[in-house]
Symmetry: D2
Subunit: 226 residues, 4 copies
């Protein structure tokens, strides 16, 4: 009788917990620029990740939310951090920003200085960690797909990627080293050393192959320590 | 007897009010870039304003605080708004930023797009007004002192000044139209149409004459509706 | 008998001269960028000038030749001066270049420094004058049609225009002050202060109205001292 | 008797040849930018090459002439080709230009587009070859000495170097691949991955070690097919 009561007690606590677990999937926000904005499109990387979860029968475990806006740089993310991320109480946030911070230097004269890039980036992380969010930082992919470091922005993209790797270490957050993954892939799969047409359609935005590749890398990062 | 009681009643309310007024000078923060950082130097415009108040025996009425950092653009102000302004509970804030937002486009490729400039500027104002701060917005002064609109950044400075005038109207905040004041002054006082050497030493940063001129304009704005 | 001989003598000289004048129209080359390249299109300014001559029955007096290539800056003209101008033995050359020298600073990072602009410009003039060509130099028109000096490149365009006016004086060549003409026109005819849509379709390239206006100004310059 | 006659015959031919060789050293012009302008300074690379020749007792065989001007890009070389190179009737010309073509994109907005770079470069070569000059083309060295392709301009410098290698092949002229030599050296000799202080003092201009290294590479190129 007593043990039944005990079991009953446990059940009282455990059932709602299990229910909660089932009712409340892990909320994951992808916070970024146009690539992430396109990520929720029909062939976008977030859409593909959702489909991957469905196939694995894990749809209930993750809620994937795109929060990408075209042209965004790191300080734009900071400006909309409260509205687009914190207020939504996510469990995990991927920060994937940097292409425009580098690219707009030459295309619009409005890129982001490296020291400011780091400052805003760490301000993002600090506010997310204060809300106990698991942060995953991504290095920027590519502006041009040549695989011999001869795309005009390669030097800067390599440098900003180093900064992000240092940020990850310094802030003890997970790194998803997209630039490295893309570089390795293109070294193998771009034999003609083309500027575009492999993972990107226009040197930056992703082809279907690019979205697939990105979805795989993002998924690996997401499930890694989960 | 009754009137004495009445006077006593008034005194009960008025004396603390007067005391409060004397004890608590109006706290004014100048929020900006290197020009404002230099403003608290020995010949800077904020130092000159403090001296002007002393001469007028009004030192007790105002507390002038410089919050300028070299190289700052509008989004840098936003990043340090809490720490450098809001936490200090000012009564009045001058926002004087924009030179670097325009200038760094060509000098570093890291200026600020006009739409982003407006977005961050209005975010600053919104947070200050929420704390009941009287905001005074300033148009950017000059990058080059030629008085015939032939300084390289004149087009952009004129445009960003228009944006600030619109911001002032739209947000119902006070305008201190420095660019207009500087332009009018240089039209009269730069007969050789020099690039620098009148109000600035290097096309941007202020000479003693420039700091004096700026201090006068800022003081006019400060006491205007006070 | 003697006077008849005299008349015969004069005729001997005069007839070929008259014939030559009829047989050999004044060869005019328009040397420039995309605006001039479009100038020979169906609604381009050079086409319109040819039509104007036809109406005035002066088709035989002028041969108008377009030598514009999109994206050209002053040094591009220098590189193709021999092939596209000198080898064609023109009588008159309009130099109309400068928009890209200014514009590409911010759009591509590949504009032309003012001192280099002057150097190449005067090198063009020197080589043309050595071949006895009448040179007409044009100030750059517009990048944006706002009439209050608030287009981003107005400062630079005003400055480069001043440089061209000085070049004209210093080298004693004719000036066609297009920037002034466009400015005066837009002050009257752009009441909404639009960026484009009056003389240009895209802030730079000409509408039909723009081509007509330019054709008129060019024609005035051409017939001026002729 | 016969052999004496034979020797006499040989002497008849050989003596003038030797004389000519002694009387007329090979005239070598170094055509470039500020690095080459500094090259004729007390510790410059051209000065060092002259000293190397003295030590090897070959001073009479080469006349080394610096023709570098600070800030020069490829089109500046084209503008002064006649005056500073062709008119001096050199036997050999090193073309060493490209740093500013890349660098000034971000620092002044006045770099050189790659297609224009190639066009002017090949125009230089064509005019030199027409005068039977032996042309040696050099890839640009460095803007920043980090050895992991993370200097901001590395992508562009790698690309322009590829263009020069293609130019060398296409025009059948000798290549002096300075960028490769510098890269290999820095991979070995910059263990801290510093931005400057190994071969350059300021990321671009050469230290004594840099000038020595450059002098060695230039000398190897010069004597290679001589």
């Amino acid at each position: 009788m007593r043990s039944f009561y005990r079991i009953f007690q446990i059940a009282l606590i455990a059932i709602p917990l299990l229910a909660m677990r089932q009712d409340k999937p892990l909320r994951v926000i992808f916070f970024g620029d146009s690539i992430t904005q396109a990520g929720v499109g029909p062939t976008g990387y977030i859409t593909k990740m959702t489909e991957m979860l469905k196939i694995k029968n894990q749809s209930g475990q993750y809620e994937l939310i795109g929060a990408g806006i075209g042209g965004n740089k790191v300080y734009d993310l900071y400006l909309r951090l409260e509205d687009d991320v914190l207020s939504k109480k996510p469990d995990v946030v991927f920060i994937y920003v940097g292409i425009n911070d580098v690219w707009h230097k030459s295309s619009h004269g409005t890129g982001t200085d490296p020291d400011k890039y780091v400052k805003f980036y760490e301000a993002l992380i600090k506010k997310m960690k204060a809300q106990n969010i698991r942060v995953i930082v991504c290095t920027p992919t590519v502006i041009g797909e040549r695989n011999d470091n001869s795309n005009a922005q390669d030097g800067d993209l390599n440098y900003y990627s180093k900064l992000i790797r240092e940020i990850a270490t310094r802030n003890n957050v997970q790194l998803c080293d997209l630039r490295k993954y893309f570089g390795d892939y293109l070294a193998q799969n771009n034999p003609e050393n083309k500027e575009k047409g492999v993972l990107t359609s226009d040197r930056v935005h992703l082809t279907d192959e690019g979205n697939k590749f990105l979805a795989d890398r993002m998924m690996e990062a997401l499930v890694k320590t989960n």
